[in-house]
């Protein structure tokens, strides 16, 4: 069974969202997603300062098996990207909620965070 930490928010396209103390958010892909993808071999990250609408394609993750888009789970601006993932994409399989964060965003509308799925809702969505 895939690990779904209770303190994170989720979207149906399998990104997780962690709200930091300063109100910014950190985003990665879930344990369920990495398991479905299999061995990750390539990650393409967004540019810093780029702005995205919610659900916009903003990054790519490729496994041996297939390429998959990563979507901005919420509208906002990219303030940091995890360059280390580019050289060590296998971290997405090894530590999806820790070292393998993809990018950080400044959220356009903090209220939008409340509309995201909690761990129970996401776990149920994965079952279905």
């Amino acid at each position: 069974m895939a690990n779904v930490p209770a303190d994170l928010k989720y979207v149906a396209s399998h990104e997780w969202i962690r709200t930091e103390a300063d109100g910014t958010v950190t985003i990665g892909i879930t344990d369920f997603a990495q398991e479905q993808l299999g061995d990750v071999v390539f990650v393409e990250l967004p540019e810093a300062d780029a702005e995205f609408d919610a659900d916009a394609e903003c990054a790519v993750v490729e496994s041996v098996k297939a390429a998959s888009d990563i979507f901005a789970p919420i509208a906002g601006k990219i303030i940091a990207v995890n360059e280390e993932l580019v050289d060590a994409p296998e971290k997405v399989n090894e530590d999806p909620y820790g070292e393998a964060w993809f990018f950080k965003m400044e959220v356009a509308d903090a209220a939008a965070l409340d509309a995201l799925m909690d761990a129970d809702a996401y776990a149920a969505a994965c079952e279905g």
């Binding site: 061995d39 071999v41 390539f42 041996v64 390429a67 399989n93």
Partner: protein, 365 residues
């Protein structure tokens, strides 16, 4: 419900992720496809290939029949146990399937793909006309295990010492039977190893013994990256009924001599050769970042400002080379470089002669 091989329970025990493959419930990997791939390049791995179709062709007309049915010539099989890789063509010279044929006591044994089983058997039966003394017998009671890698043969002999008499001295593309087992020094990985046909009831114990001897269970995922590195075609990706073997790097498998052997598809292939073969199958090594995938467009500079176009037939990330590699069908005049359209970006790639890897080592320049 999907069909299951005699190793189904063993796959689940080994934590396989199962997928549907041509109506069979098969393992795609057992945790990490890359680790499985590396085990075969460096030590040994085993693949359940029991889903493949085995057909015995016996009778005094068997040789004549196969000389008409196959583009390669079974008369080249001088000794019992020798094997040949061949295409089975339609009248237009398109590839119905690729297969291995072994010479046996009373005739021949064919191993064909599982995804093409129904149409292969129909085609083989349709072409029985005119041959009186001939029988086609499918052998679903035989399971098959591929044990591959530099340590594969020693591992098999370790867990089944009595097999040494059958295995020792086998040349590449040669097989020998022992009791109800058949050991062939063939494979689909570019490494040394065996493909072993085993009565269904006996394969699970053999699998267990190999697993205890540290032979890595490998799924269809690793099978695909290994064969791609080895430059071996996958039916349905790299060739099909619309593609002639001349455009699929299979020219070496066509036996043109003797010139009076009228195999099915011969006329079409000769006409194609006379007119000039339009495309060739080559290897691509990506120079930039990304992963090539089948059906991506290949852009080729043919000189004099002329642009040509090809297509990736199989693409992946190569665990051995740590880079994306692909097989692609491109215009005959393609030189040493091209660009591949990867998700809207044109990424440069080198064109090489297949294969990429043999016996654990990079082989192209």
């Amino acid at each position: 419900m999907a069909k299951r091989t005699a190793l189904y329970a063993k796959h689940l025990e080994a934590n396989a992720k199962m997928v549907d493959f041509a109506g069979w419930d098969m393992p795609i990997h057992y945790g990490s496809q890359i680790q499985e791939h590396n085990a075969v390049r460096e030590k040994s791995g085993m693949f359940d290939v029991s889903h493949m179709t085995i057909v015995d062709i016996n009778g005094s007309d068997a040789t004549d029949y196969l000389q008409q049915l196959l583009a390669n010539d079974v008369a080249r099989l001088q000794e019992k146990g020798k094997a040949l890789y061949s295409a089975m063509l339609n009248q237009d010279g398109g590839v119905i399937d690729d297969l291995i044929v072994y010479k046996t006591d009373n005739g021949y044994r064919l191993v064909v793909n599982s995804a093409t089983r129904t149409k292969d058997l129909e085609w083989m039966e349709r072409n029985l006309r005119g041959f009186g003394n001939l029988s086609l017998t499918e052998r679903p009671e035989l399971a098959m295990l591929a044990v591959q890698g530099p340590e594969a043969i020693s591992k098999v002999k370790l867990v089944k010492p009595e097999a040494a008499t059958a295995i020792d001295g086998l040349k590449v593309f040669q097989g020998r039977s022992q009791a109800n087992w058949f050991f062939a020094r063939t494979g689909y990985t570019g490494e040394d190893g065996l493909e072993i046909m085993i009565p269904e009831a006996e394969i699970a114990d053999f699998w267990q013994a190999l697993q205890e001897a540290d032979v890595q269970p490998c799924g269809l995922g690793a099978r695909d990256t290994l064969r791609l590195e080895a430059g071996m075609n996958l039916y349905g990706n790299d060739m099909d009924e619309t593609i002639s073997p001349l455009q699929a790097a299979m020219g070496w498998t066509i036996a043109w001599e003797p010139t009076d052997r009228a195999f099915i598809g011969r006329d079409a292939l000769e006409a194609e050769k006379d007119a000039g073969v339009a495309n060739k199958l080559v290897g691509l090594v990506l120079e930039g970042r990304g992963v090539m995938r089948s059906h991506q467009k290949v852009l080729v500079d043919l000189g004099n400002g002329e642009q040509g176009e090809g297509e990736v037939t199989s693409g992946t990330f190569s665990p051995t080379l740590q880079n994306s590699i692909a097989m692609a069908r491109v215009p005959k005049a393609t030189g040493e470089t091209c660009h591949v359209d990867i998700r809207g970006k044109q990424v440069p790639a080198r064109v090489i002669k297949l294969p990429f890897v043999r016996n654990g080592k990079k082989v192209y320049e």
